[in-house]
């Protein structure tokens, strides 16, 4: 691979001059000289060494994105949004699937730090894990000292996201929509207790249920994982517990998909006997049967704005947090409750 030295030699100029025409677009260089350097670069198939440049600047044009799992459509959508904007600015994006393991998350952040990534974006929620968060905080402080930008798209241990969504309000809106349909006993599949985002969603559910004077039986709230298997298991738990309910509101779409599937296996009609609602509006939500009622989050836009936020941080700006609106989307998995008796477990 040709280096700037060889380009300079071939063009008959100093490396300083060659470097200026290759990288510093605005530096004054005479037209003739500039052209000779450009010709030499072309002839030698010169591609600048980003590592050398990065070593010099102590930063490279790379964004790390920490996700739970790139397979989860929620995250691939956000990553795509980041990539859209990053590509425009010549940034490359590194995806890191942590599987929600704080240890893996820390090890990725350390790697990103060692690469002097210009920014790291936490696409998912933080976890309540004091020991690990301490190490995380140390790495983030190190990166910030070095001028890197840190952006969160969900609530986390160190505060509110720079770019996010009002989770509690979103869930509350769905609960209200369900109540409007006539549901008075709404179960809630809550997601992992350790995730801050799940806590916010649960808070939204509790607030709405209280505000609307709906049923609050203990067994109505089921802690779960955040995947579709968890949705299926929660349905079983709900039925076994004996609580009565006519609707299931889920903390994310994957749970809702799993719940719908399990209900189908059990011969319970959705939405005839039970309504099911999701949250996030991942792309599959619109193509399952029945099509899922859910709360739409502007996932791709969250990614775009998250990157834009990082770039402006790098430019030294101080920015106010951005909160995007959510929207209830009623499709085919919700309906008024059955006229007869509500769904009831067999405890």
């Amino acid at each position: 691979m040709a280096s700037i030295t060889e380009v300079a030699r071939q063009a008959g100029v100093s490396t300083a001059t060659a470097a200026r025409v290759m990288a510093a677009a605005d530096y004054p260089v005479s037209e003739g000289t500039r052209q000779r350097v450009l010709d030499a670069a072309l002839a030698l198939d010169y591609v600048p060494n980003a590592l050398a440049r990065g070593l010099q600047k102590s930063r490279i044009a790379v964004v790390g994105v920490i996700v739970h799992d790139i397979i989860d459509p929620y995250f691939s959508e956000v990553v795509r949004g980041i990539e859209d904007v990053a590509a425009t600015d010549g940034y490359l994006v590194i995806t890191c699937s942590s599987d929600r393991s704080p240890a893996r998350e820390n090890s990725y952040v350390r790697l990103l730090r060692s690469m002097r990534a210009a920014a790291v974006i936490f696409a998912g929620s933080g976890m309540d894990d004091p020991a690990r968060n301490e190490e995380l905080a140390r790495h983030l402080a190190g990166m910030r000292d070095n001028g890197a930008a840190i952006v969160h798209l969900s609530p986390h241990a160190f505060g509110e996201p720079e770019v996010g969504v009002d989770n509690a309000a979103g869930i509350a809106a769905m609960v209200a929509a369900l109540a409007t349909l006539g549901h008075g006993r709404i179960a809630f599949l809550a997601g992992p207790t350790a995730l801050y985002v799940a806590r916010e969603r649960l808070a939204g559910y509790r607030r709405a249920v209280a505000d609307l004077g709906l049923g609050t039986d203990r067994g109505l709230v089921v802690p779960t994982t955040f995947d579709s298997e968890g949705g299926g298991r929660a349905v079983d738990r709900l039925l076994a517990s004996g609580v009565s309910f006519t609707a299931i509101c889920c903390a994310n779409d994957l749970l809702a998909l799993g719940a719908v599937r399990r209900l189908g296996e059990l011969g319970i009609d959705v939405p005839g006997s039970v309504s099911v609602a999701g949250f996030d509006d991942i792309s599959v939500a619109a193509i399952t049967a029945p099509k899922l009622s859910t709360v739409r989050l502007p996932l791709r836009e969250l990614g775009r704005r998250g990157f834009a936020h990082a770039v402006r941080q790098l430019a030294g700006e101080t920015l106010a947090p951005e909160v995007f609106p959510t929207e209830v989307v009623l499709r085919d998995s919700t309906a008024p409750p059955p006229a007869a008796s509500p769904m009831k477990g067999t405890a």
Copy 2:
């Protein structure tokens, strides 16, 4: 950020010694010295600079993965497989969504080249675009000269994939399964003509249809895009053309999902009136209604083996191509053809 120089000073040794304990695990250093260096590193929160190391080695522990779109479950699954193995080896993975634009693909490869990525894995198929492929070839040659590994997981302009699947055989197996169900007139949604992988799948269809003596009317094969919208449009085209058919075999799952959806909108029962089969077995294929019959590709494993292949290339090994088997999975979108007259367009 502390550098190796500061660690060395604090430990009272030369930078050479400090560097050896930090990076060269097997280099002989006396126990006492080693411990003092380790202590200093810890105290200073030292994180090695991967850029400096990479500049030295002319290579950094990063894999670039070129995908069509990270949103497409086919690709996110492959990427996850790559990441699984890469993380173990301390590699970071950069995802590049080209949207199947050769221009974007080239610009990503150039960026990866400038970063001195240790490897680039092409997860998707190559495109027949001579002008762009020339530039691509130049970049890849440059990277190879520099010792980088290049791996393809699908057919491409420069030959067969290092790790892949027998696409033609996979489609042929599905056509045979459909024939076994009793279908004699099977339409084929072929995907983009410019993609090598689509050509292989089409070849598999033609071969099977010929071998089995099935209907070969001209209108039976419909070129399409590779997304679900394309599947919907193809159904309209098929119906308008007037060909008769009882099954639709699709070059990928997204097409099949779109076809099923469009058929549903038109009130045509799947699989009662028409059978629909996909290809790839992306994760949603199992949760749609009806559940999609398809051909399973070991996507995640393809990713894992692809990375393993890259690592062994980096180690200087010469490896034979690996071809993974595919498997027909019959679910609920296929059935014997209706006893009455076959589906027929209204041309």
